[in-house]
């Protein structure tokens, strides 16, 4: 059982008649990385804004480290931090100066030592004295991340931190986050549209849609909920016997190319289909099976298939 660093109970936010967050409850344990996913407009950003105290909820409760956020705002904000690809630091001043300001705002002891350590680790030292607004997106993201770690937070809210990074820098950043989590037992609430990234670093994923939690599980657990795999068969000859066989068996399919058929099918039925087609003298030249991944879960939810997901 994890010691809980964040507990959200029945969080509800309504803007006029629009419900942005609809009575969601979840918790994050020490050292746990939780992904908050969902299509645009699902309520992720509003949830993060409420968790950071810049938007007030209509109802519900937030507890950090066992203390109610509303009543212990300073205590909680001192122990958490936030980074987003969509926020910047003060553009006219240098990263060093920005970090110095935030070190003071978080009352960091030995601030120069701390800034040195982080800038070394994130490889941002060479541009610490260039005005922030002259940095590339990748450099800014790393400076923002340094800002979010200045106060040795127990929990960091990361809103698409790798959104503007090239794959190499994104990979380095994820490795850094993984190390932090291991060494410092850092808890992270992570939003991203990159499902590979989420699968790599998140222990648990919460899917939001229309303000509600529609699924919550480990990345593997979520993908297992989709029972169908995508079977792609390439064959010689005409498509008629293939189409006839699949129609007889009531198996939904499509022909993306003249001699290729694509079938979404339960995994245990795959051998049966291959055997059946062979019996009809269909010569299969290539068989490709793609198991469902988190992206499929995301698409399923975004396209309104959450009911099916729940049933599974």
């Amino acid at each position: 059982m994890h010691e809980s660093v964040l507990e959200v109970s029945n969080l509800y936010k309504q803007f006029n008649t629009f419900v942005a967050v609809d009575k969601i409850s979840f918790s994050i344990g020490r050292g746990e990385v939780v992904g908050l996913l969902g299509p645009n407009g699902a309520g992720k950003t509003t949830t993060i804004q409420i968790l950071m105290g810049i938007t007030t909820p209509t109802s519900g409760a937030i507890h950090y480290f066992g203390r109610e956020f509303e009543k212990h705002r300073q205590y909680c904000l001192q122990r958490i931090n936030f980074t987003s690809a969509f926020n910047s630091l003060q553009g006219r001043i240098t990263p060093y100066e920005n970090l110095k300001v935030f070190a003071g705002l978080y009352d960091v002891k030995n601030e120069d030592e701390k800034i040195n350590l982080l800038t070394d680790r994130l490889e941002i030292k060479p541009f610490m004295n260039i005005p922030y607004n002259r940095l590339s997106s990748g450099q800014k993201t790393r400076v923002n991340l340094a800002k979010s770690l200045l106060n040795d937070p127990a929990l960091v809210l990361m809103d698409e931190p790798t959104a503007s990074l090239d794959p190499d820098i994104a990979d380095k950043l994820l490795t850094f986050i993984e190390e932090l989590r291991q060494k410092q037992q850092l808890s992270i609430l992570y939003t991203s549209h990159d499902m590979k990234e989420v699968t790599r670093i998140c222990d648990r994923v919460i899917f939001l849609d229309l303000g509600k939690i529609v699924a919550e599980d480990t990345p593997l657990g979520l993908t297992k909920r989709i029972k169908t795999a995508r079977l792609t068969l390439t064959f010689d000859g005409v498509k008629a016997p293939v189409a006839t066989y699949l129609a007889e068996k009531n198996i939904a399919h499509s022909f993306p190319r003249r001699q290729v058929v694509s079938i979404d099918i339960k995994e245990d039925l795959i051998p049966k289909v291959i055997f059946g087609l062979s019996n009809r003298n269909v010569w299969l030249t290539d068989i490709d099976i793609r198991k469902p991944n988190l992206e499929d879960v995301f698409l399923d939810i975004a396209r309104g298939g959450k009911d099916e997901l729940d049933k599974n």
């Binding site: 803007f15 938007t55 969509f86 910047s88 006219r92 110095k100």
Partner: protein, 261 residues
């Protein structure tokens, strides 16, 4: 209140000032060239209405610049953080609104005092005008004007938080609206009677009237200073309350989080 957090906010203002040409333009450029303009205007009027009376225009100018700078320190520096998309970073640290406002007010004292000293020296050098003729009342005038500028600044900040940057022009323009009716450059008696009544609702009207009187006669109108202080306390309290109310509404409606787009 944490002094460390206040000091860090001041440090940010200093770093910005150090790097930004427009911050220097805002601080020095307008003030310097306006001084030149009003100085010559005073010299022109001196030919018809007496040197000292004409130079009292410079009393109005220098003191008004303190109001302008005090107001802008609160509003423009906040806008700079909004434009940089940095405001939400600041308000997700443990800083309280009181600490944030206190830092802006201290910054405004530092900036306006520095400009005040420079302008006073230049006015003396170019036009033989001495602001020190306001004697021991000068800090009282200065304090009252700053208090009023903070009230305006807090109110405008609240409006910006609540309604967003589409109203950002208020940061510069709102305070200008009251300039013509508060007797900055001329006595209130020249205004139509209705406007005179409106003018006496503003604390700075009493200060400009009193400052001119001190400059021309050497006497200090304690009653005017007292009324100004009384009105300033009311204005400041209302501005403080309205800022907190507007900020709370902005957080409730989500407009604060949307400030940065």
């Amino acid at each position: 209140m944490s002094w460390t957090r206040i000091r860090s906010t001041l440090l940010q203002a200093w770093y910005y000032q150090k790097h930004s040409l427009e911050a220097w333009v805002d601080t020095i450029w307008w003030s310097f060239f306006s001084l030149i303009l009003f100085g010559f205007l005073a010299l022109f009027f001196a030919q018809s209405s007496g040197a000292e009376k004409a130079k009292s225009i410079l009393v109005g100018f220098i003191l008004w610049d303190m109001v302008r700078l005090g107001n802008e320190e609160l509003t423009i520096s906040t806008l700079r953080d909004i434009w940089s998309r940095n405001l939400s970073n600041i308000f997700t640290t443990p800083i309280s609104t009181s600490e944030f406002l206190a830092a802006q007010m201290i910054a405004s004292i530092i900036r306006s005092t520095a400009v005040f000293i420079v302008l006073s020296i230049l006015a003396w050098f170019f036009y033989g005008f001495s602001i020190l003729r306001l004697s021991w009342a000068l800090p009282l005038y200065y304090g009252n004007l700053l208090l009023f500028s903070w009230s305006c600044g807090m109110f405008i900040m609240g409006i910006l938080f609540r309604f967003g940057t589409r109203l950002q022009a208020m940061a510069w323009s709102m305070i200008i609206i009251i300039q013509p009716i508060t007797g900055v450059f001329y006595p209130i008696s020249v205004l139509p009677r209705l406007l005179q009544t409106v003018a006496y609702c503003f604390p700075i009207t009493y200060i400009f009237e009193a400052a001119r009187q001190t400059y021309l006669t050497g006497s200090v109108n304690i009653v005017h200073i007292g009324i100004a202080l009384f009105l300033n306390i009311i204005y400041f309290s209302l501005a403080w309350l309205s800022f907190h109310r507007l900020f709370a509404t902005a957080k409730r409606t989500g407009s604060f989080a949307k400030l940065e787009g």
